[in-house]
C-alpha cells in the first residue's frame, strides 16, 4: 500500500511529461554514460555481437539479449484498468520492455493488493516453489536466505548493473546494498527509499484556522487547542457538528515510512521512537516501543481520545483517508507527498480546502524530532538455480532508465506517455517488478532547485526531466491555482512538504537495526501484535495507561529480552 501510494508522485510526472516535452534525456547527475551506452546498444542490436569484444559497463547493461530468455515472475497486479485486449502479462509496457531487452516476462502468479501479494509469496516460500524472480520484503528475504532458496547476485550485479542503478544505490552510501547482503553476499536488489518519506508532518486546513482565528501550532498544547476547535466549533461552517479533530490510523504509529494518520510525530515529540531500535542515554541498544517515554505519549493520546480531540472513529475506517477525503477533518499527520494523495481528493471535493504543512509539534526544547526510515524495504530476488540472473538485472536496468526519464528511445517513450495519457493507466505499474529506485535526497534537492529557478537564480533548462516537470507545474499552479489538479499535486507536495523538510532543522533519529534476528524469526510477530494491540487499546481506553508497564514486562518475557541482546550484538558488531 505504502509504496504504491508513494508512487503516485512520480506517476504524475510520467503522465504529464508527454504534454510539455517529449522526453528529454539530459540529466545533471548522470547522463553521458547511460545515453551513450544505450545508443551504442541500439546500433548494435541488429548486427548481432558475436564478433565484438566482450562488452562492459552500460554497453553490457542495456544490451539486448541475443537468444530469447523467459523470466517467470510473481506479479503484483495493479488496479489500473487496461484497455480491451491488453492483459497484465501482455501490454504496451511489457512489449516495449521485451523489445529493448529481448527478455520475455511470464507471470507464474499474480496478486492484487499488499496482503494478497504477501500471502502468495509466503505460499511460494512454504512450498519451495518460487518463480524465477520476485520482490519480497525484509522478513521474506531473511527466510529465503536462511533456507538457501535464492541466488547470490553479487557478481551479476557488478557485471550487468547499469551506471544509473549503481549511482542511485551509491547515493545511500552503500547502505541499501549492505541491507540486502548477508556475509558480503548480495542476495537481493533493494529499492531505494526517499529520505524525505520518513518524517510525518502536520497537515492543517489553513482556511479553518483562519475562520476560527487560530494560529499555526508549535507545541502539543497548540495542537490540542486546534483539534478541539476543529471538532467542536464547526470549522466548515455548515451548522452541523460533523467535523472531527485529529485523525489517526489503527496502526497508531508506522515507525519507519509513515502513511497518512500515523501518530509518529507525537511520540517523537516525547522522544519516544516506537518500532525503532535506538540507543538509550547510556548507549545501550534498546527497543523504542518499550521505553517509558511512550507512556507519556500514550497517556496524552488516550486523554485526547476520551475528550474527542482525536476522531472517535479513527480505528474503524477501512481506508484511513476517509475523513480526510470527505473533509471531515482539517488536521492529520502525514509525509511530504500528501498533496498527491489523499489531499488532492479533499480539494476536489471542497475547493475551499487550503492545506498547509508544519513541522509540529516540537519537543520541549522547541525542536522537531523525527525517526528516519530504512533506506530500503523491498528486495528483488532470483530463485536459486535460475539460469539467467542477468536477465533480471537487465530488466531492472531497463525500467529504471525508463522511469527516470533517461530512455533514449524517445519515440517509443512518447508512445507510452500517450498511452498513459489516453487511458489513465500508469506505465510504472506494469513494470515486471514493483521496485523503484531514486536518489535518496531527491525530494529536497528538487524543491531547492525549483525554488531557485522560480527566483531566477538558476536556469530551469539545465534541469533533469523530473525537476523540470515540477518546475513547470509550479509555474502553472501559480498562474491558475487549483485549475489543473496534476499541477496542484506536484507543486504543493514540493512547495509545502518539500519546503518544510528543506527549511526545518530536524533532529533525525536512525534506527540502529532493521533486520531480523534468530529469535525474532519465531517470536517477533507475536511481540509486534502484542505491541500494536496494546498501543491501540490504551488509546481507545480499553486498557488503562498503566497497562503499558504490563506490556513491557510481558514483551520482555515473551522473547523481547533475548531479541534485544541479539540486536545489540549485531548492531555493535557493525
Amino acid at each position: 500500500m505504502k509504496a504504491k501510494m508513494w508512487m503516485a508522485s512520480s506517476m504524475v510526472l510520467v503522465m504529464a511529461l508527454s504534454a510539455c516535452s517529449n522526453g528529454g534525456s539530459n540529466n545533471e547527475t548522470d547522463s553521458t554514460g547511460s545515453n551513450n551506452g544505450a545508443a551504442a546498444n541500439q546500433s548494435n542490436a541488429g548486427e548481432g555481437n558475436a564478433n565484438e569484444p566482450a562488452k562492459t559497463g552500460d554497453d553490457l547493461a542495456y544490451e539486448k539479449v541475443t537468444e530469447p530468455i523467459t523470466v517467470n515472475i510473481g506479479f503484483r497486479a495493479p488496479d489500473d484498468k487496461l484497455p480491451e485486449g491488453e492483459t497484465n502479462d501482455n501490454n504496451i509496457v511489457s512489449r516495449y520492455l521485451e523489445s529493448v531487452t529481448g527478455i520475455k516476462v511470464g507471470h507464474t502468479w499474480e496478486a492484487k493488493g499488499e496482503d494478497p501479494f504477501k500471502q502468495k509469496v509466503n505460499l511460494a516460500i512454504a512450498s519451495n516453489d518460487l518463480p524465477d524472480a520476485l520482490v519480497v520484503d525484509r522478513n521474506q528475504l531473511r527466510k529465503l536466505v536462511d533456507n538457501d532458496m535464492i541466488e547470490d547476485l553479487t557478481e551479476v550485479y557488478e557485471k550487468y548493473g547499469s551506471q544509473l542503478v549503481k549511482d542511485m544505490y551509491d547515493s545511500t552510501d552503500g547502505l541499501a546494498l549492505a541491507d540486502a547482503s548477508v556475509d558480503d553476499k548480495l542476495y537481493g536488489l533493494p529499492n531505494v527509499a526517499i529520505e524525505a518519506d520518513a518524517p510525518s508532518l502536520l497537515w492543517i486546513r489553513q482556511d479553518w484556522l483562519d475562520k476560527l482565528k487560530l494560529t499555526p501550532p508549535k507545541t502539543i498544547a497548540d495542537l490540542e487547542k486546534i483539534a478541539d476547535a476543529f471538532a467542536n466549533q464547526d470549522p466548515d461552517g455548515n451548522g452541523k457538528k460533523d467535523t472531527v479533530g485529529l485523525t489517526g490510523d489503527k496502526m497508531v504509529v508506522f515507525g519507519q515510512k509513515p502513511n497518512p494518520n500515523g501518530f509518529d510525530t507525537i511520540f517523537s515529540a516525547f522522544h519516544a521512537f516506537p518500532k525503532n531500535w535506538i540507543k538509550d542515554a547510556s548507549g545501550n541498544v534498546v527497543y523504542g516501543s518499550i521505553q517509558p517515554e511512550n507512556k507519556e505519549a500514550l497517556e496524552l493520546l488516550a486523554d485526547w481520545y476520551k475528550r474527542g480531540i482525536i476522531d472517535p472513529q479513527f480505528a474503524l475506517y477501512k481506508e484511513t483517508q476517509e475523513p480526510i477525503v470527505a473533509n471531515k477533518t482539517g488536521l492529520f499527520f502525514g509525509p511530504w507527498w500528501m498533496p498527491y494523495w489523499p489531499l488532492a481528493d479533499s480539494v476536489v471535493n471542497d475547493t475551499k480546502a487550503d492545506w498547509k504543512a508544519y513541522a509540529a509539534p516540537t519537543d520541549e526544547s522547541g525542536k522537531f524530532v523525527t525517526h528516519m526510515a530504512p533506506v530500503t524495504d523491498r528486495y528483488l530476488v532470483v530463485r536459486k538455480g535460475y539460469e539467467h540472473p542477468e536477465a533480471v538485472v537487465k530488466l531492472l536496468n531497463a525500467f529504471t532508465r525508463l522511469e527516470r526519464r533517461q530512455d533514449p528511445n524517445a519515440e517509443e517513450v512518447k508512445k507510452l506517455d500517450d498511452f498513459a495519457a489516453e487511458t489513465g493507466v500508469h506505465v510504472r505499474n506494469f513494470y515486471p517488478f514493483d521496485l523503484l529506485l531514486d536518489y535518496s535526497d531527491a525530494v529536497v534537492q528538487r524543491y531547492d532547485n525549483v525554488q531557485k529557478a522560480i527566483r531566477g537564480e538558476i536556469d530551469p533548462n539545465t534541469f533533469d526531466p523530473d525537476t523540470k516537470l515540477v518546475y513547470d507545474f509550479s509555474l502553472a499552479e501559480k498562474e491558475n491555482p487549483k485549475k489543473n489538479m496534476d499541477a496542484w499535486k506536484a507543486a504543493k507536495a514540493y512547495e509545502l512538504g518539500g519546503g518544510v523538510l528543506f527549511q526545518t532543522e530536524m533532529e533525525k533519529v536512525y534506527s540502529v537495526f532493521y533486520g531480523m534476528t534468530r529469535t525474532m524469526e519465531t517470536k517477533w510477530t507475536t511481540l509486534e501484535k502484542l505491541e500494536n494491540e496494546t498501543f491501540l487499546k490504551i488509546i481507545v481506553g480499553d486498557l488503562p495507561v498503566s497497562a503499558f508497564d504490563d506490556f513491557v514486562a510481558q514483551w520482555n518475557k515473551l522473547g523481547g529480552e533475548q531479541i534485544t541482546k541479539e540486536v545489540a550484538e549485531i548492531a555493535s558488531g557493525k
Binding site: 504504491k4 501510494m5 508512487m7 503516485a8 506517476m11 504524475v12 503522465m15 497486479a77 495493479p78 488496479d79 489500473d80 497484465n88 507471470h107 507464474t108 502468479w109 499474480e110 496478486a111 492484487k112 493488493g113 494478497p116 500471502q119 502468495k120 505460499l123 512454504a126 512450498s127 516453489d129 481506508e319 483517508q321 470527505a326 498527491y340 494523495w341 489523499p342 488532492a344 481528493d345 476536489v348 498513459a420 489513465g424 500508469h426 505499474n429 489538479m485 496534476d486 499535486k489
Partner: protein
C-alpha cells in the same frame, strides 16, 4: 364462554401474527436496505440517508456492474464451478449415501467408511499443507482445484443416507428377491422416492460452491480466475489512490458519482440473483427433505 374464548384466541392469534410479521421484516430489512442503496444516488448513500427506499433512484451502479469485465469473468467461473462441482457432488452423494445406508450386516465395511468420512470432515492439515497438496497434483489455478477437494460433501451424504435408511426395508428386499441388483434398486427405486431429499442436498451443494471464497483466494494464481465470492471479498476501492492522481477533476467527478457503497451494493445484489432464482423452487422440499437426519434404533 365460547365467545370469550374466541375473542381471546383472536387476540393471541393476532399477537402471534404481529410477532411473526416483525421477525420476517427483520429478516428482510438488511437485504431491502442493500437493494435501496444499490439504486440510490452516491451522495445520499454515503451520507447514510438511504433507508428502505432509494433516494434519487438511478441504475448507474448496475450499469457499472454490467460494464465490469472482471465481475462477469468471476461470475462465469462461479457458474462453471457450480455446474461441475454440483454434478460431482450429486453423483457421489447419492452413491455413497445409498451404500452407507445399508447396515453392517449387508455391507461389512460400512462403519469403517463412515468413521473415515467423519474423520475427514473434522481433521484438516491447515492452509499450508492443503496448498502444497494441490500444488503437488498440479491443480493450482485450475477449476478442478475448486471442485475436486469438495467432491464429497460429508454432511450431505449423512443427510441423504439417513433419509434412505428411513425408507421401508421391504422395498429393498422385495426387489432383490426379484433379482434386481443394488444399482438398479438405487436408480429405479431409491432415487425416485427421494426426490425432495435429493433436491435439498443438491441445493446445499450448489449454495456451497456458489458461496465459497477462501479456496479461490489461496489456490487461484491470477485474479482473472477468481470465482465470484473471492472477487467480491478482495474488492478494493475501484477508484484507487493511483487512479485518482491521474484523473482530471471532470473524470473524477464522474467516477465519484457512482460511489463504492452503491457499486458494491449492486454487486452484492447481482451475485445473489442465481441463488434467488433457484431457491424458491427447491425451498418447498425442505420440510420433507430434512427430517431430522437420524434413525431410531
Amino acid at each position: 364462554m365460547v365467545g370469550y374464548n374466541s375473542v381471546r384466541n383472536r387476540i393471541i392469534d393476532g399477537s402471534i401474527l404481529a410477532a411473526l410479521f416483525l421477525i420476517t421484516i427483520a429478516c428482510l430489512i438488511p437485504l431491502l436496505h442493500t437493494v435501496a442503496v444499490s439504486f440510490s444516488d452516491k451522495t445520499a448513500a454515503d451520507a447514510g440517508r438511504v433507508f428502505l427506499t432509494p433516494i434519487k433512484a438511478t441504475t448507474a451502479s448496475y450499469a457499472k456492474v454490467l460494464d465490469d469485465g472482471q465481475f462477469f469473468k468471476a461470475f462465469l467461473i462461479s457458474v462453471e464451478r457450480v455446474l461441475l462441482g454440483g454434478l460431482i457432488n450429486f453423483v457421489l452423494t447419492i452413491m455413497m449415501a445409498f451404500a452407507l445406508s445399508k447396515d453392517a450386516k449387508q455391507f461389512p465395511m460400512r462403519n469403517v467408511y463412515m468413521w473415515f468420512l467423519v474423520f475427514t470432515m473434522l481433521f484438516n492439515g491447515g492452509v499450508i499443507p492443503w496448498f502444497m497438496t494441490i500444488k503437488t497434483y498440479g491443480l493450482l489455478d485450475s477449476i478442478w482445484a475448486l471442485v475436486l477437494p469438495h467432491a464429497v460433501q460429508v454432511f450431505n451424504v449423512i443427510l441423504l443416507m439417513n433419509f434412505f435408511r428411513n425408507l421401508p426395508k421391504e422395498l429393498n428386499e422385495a426387489a432383490e428377491i426379484d433379482g434386481a441388483g443394488p444399482w438398479y434398486v438405487m436408480i429405479r427405486l431409491y432415487i425416485p422416492l427421494s426426490l425432495p431429499s435429493i433436491a435439498t442436498v443438491t441445493l446445499f451443494s450448489i449454495v456451497f460452491h456458489w458461496n465459497s471464497f477462501f479456496d479461490g483466494l489461496v489456490l487461484m494464481s491470477k485474479q482473472d480466475h477468481y470465482p465470484l465470492q473471492t472477487y467480491i471479498q478482495t474488492l478494493v476501492t475501484q477508484i484507487s489512490a493511483q487512479a485518482m492522481t491521474s484523473m482530471s477533476p471532470d473524470e473524477l467527478a464522474a467516477a465519484m458519482a457512482v460511489s463504492n457503497r452503491t457499486f458494491n451494493a449492486a454487486k452484492i445484489i447481482v451475485s445473489m440473483i442465481p441463488i434467488l432464482i433457484i431457491y424458491p423452487f427447491i425451498q418447498r422440499f425442505f420440510i420433507h427433505g430434512i427430517t431430522l437426519g437420524s434413525v431410531k434404533e
